[in-house]
């Protein structure tokens, strides 16, 4: 049995004096497609940030590829949720995607032919060939989201971390993003965070619900809509000391 790609052990994180993650234990193995669901403010993004090394745990441990978080940037592709960048930035999709190659490059090294080929390939995978030379400001939300996935793929990662890839895009686009995931899970280990409980269960191999504490469900359960809904609410009931995070979205 190979070592897990991500190993969280009794992981707790406090941000600004508030416990965001409490004793989360989780392992992600090679080839997994793990979906993590939970309400907003439940700590989903924080968990990804800890795995990326952007946030330090206050207790417990995290190992990623057997090392501390942030040790192997080239092996991880990250698709952030919030767009910190400026939509008017003078940059084309091609160059945006090329930036995904930076984790494979040394300081001072310029991008070469191989980097450009990898970026073009990632653009094809994301189905953006026709738009490759457009400025990012000209794209729709869904197209931009696919460009960000292409950026993550350009670095040839082994692990793909996606934070709410379907938030703020229309339902039709959502399906194409999930279809892309379906295609990618053949080659990659994927952790996808979402509050989009309805769609995700069809695609993932394992599912976890996170609301400060984490509950992991193995594939054998293959939760249907009702059980998923129940699971979604389950941890909420256990966390009564955070009024602001115990709010849940009504499930249809």
């Amino acid at each position: 049995m190979k070592d897990p790609i991500i190993q969280c052990d009794q992981l707790s994180v406090s941000l600004g004096g508030m416990k965001v993650l409490d004793k989360v234990t989780l392992s992600v193995n090679d080839g997994d497609f793990l979906g993590i669901i939970g309400p907003n403010g439940g700590g989903k993004t924080t968990l990804l940030r800890v795995i990326l090394g952007l946030e330090a745990p206050s207790a417990g441990s995290v190992r990623v590829f057997g090392g501390s978080p942030g040790s192997f940037p080239a092996r991880i592709g990250y698709v952030p949720q919030r767009l910190f960048f400026d939509r008017d930035f003078p940059i084309s999709i091609r160059e945006l995607v090329l930036m995904g190659r930076i984790s494979n490059k040394k300081l001072f090294q310029h991008y070469n032919k191989r980097d450009r080929e990898n970026a073009d390939q990632a653009i094809c995978t994301a189905g953006l060939e026709r738009l490759a030379d457009r400025r990012i400001g000209d794209l729709s939300g869904g197209e931009l989201q696919r460009a960000l996935i292409a950026r993550a793929l350009a670095g040839d990662p082994e692990l793909l971390l996606l934070d709410e890839p379907t938030a703020s895009i229309d339902p039709q686009m959502k399906t194409t993003i999930y279809d892309l995931m379906e295609h990618l899970k053949e080659k990659l280990t994927i952790v996808l965070v979402t509050h989009d409980t309805g769609t995700i269960s069809r695609y993932v191999t394992r599912i976890a619900s996170l609301n400060v504490t984490l509950e992991l469900y193995e594939s054998a359960l293959s939760p249907n809509r009702d059980s998923l809904s129940a699971l979604y609410h389950y941890p909420v009931n256990t966390v009564v000391h955070h009024s602001q995070v115990s709010r849940t979205i009504d499930h249809p």
């Binding site: 942030g70 940037p73 990250y78 910190f84 400026d86 003078p90 930036m99 930076i102």
Partner: protein, 273 residues
Amino acid sequence: MLHEILAFEFMRNALLAAILSSVACGIIGTYVVVKKIGFISGGIAHTAFGGIGLGYYLGINPLLGVIPFSLFAAIAIGLMSKKAKVAEDSAIGTFWAVGMAVGVICISLKPGYAPDLFSYLFGNILTVPTFDLWMILLLDFFIIGVVWLLNKEFLAISFDEEYARVSGLKTTALYLLMLCLIALTVVVMMRVVGIVMVIALLTIPAAIARMFSRTLPGMMLLAIALSLLFSISGLWFSYQFDLASGATIILVSGFVFFLVHAWRLVSASLTAQ
């Protein structure tokens, strides 16, 4: 007529200063605009006045005082806002005023009249000495060299600093280096438009260029061209109407800036109809 103007050595120097400073200004101004760090750049520029006062007090070329001083200001402001959890605008505002205060104290401690200090504050492209031109040329080469070596890193931290960090870049070090380049650009521009107005020439050409550019290098080239256009036409107006050169250059830039935006607004409302 051009022959006539260029017959004067000070005019040739002024033209050279305009060309050399436009190069630094277009390249670094582009980063200032896309990374939205204009206010930090203004802070560094004003703090640099302390270096001029210090240089004057020590009796050395103020340019030699201002280079270490502005580099120190860049690193200190950058570290304070990144690491010490000081609100960025408080850090900038404090350095801004403290730097000016140091300059004023140093100058007042030195007996006698300081005739050309005014030109550091408000610029006088007509009095750039040849030594300063060589310094500006050297700084230009340094800035171009660093940007050429680190263009992919600077693009990454300008675009999305957090993603750059996740990609394994030393973002804080790169950011501080970028601020140091801004400090050196301030030194370069100081002779042309002066410390007080440097921020305008650093941002206006790049801000206009951004509206017409698809790539960062394209934006840099256009910003260089615009900066050159503003400097030379400003210089010409100041010569024709006997006005202060630094202020005239800024007024020309500002006028074009407003003109471009007004044209944008009008054309946008016309297409909307």
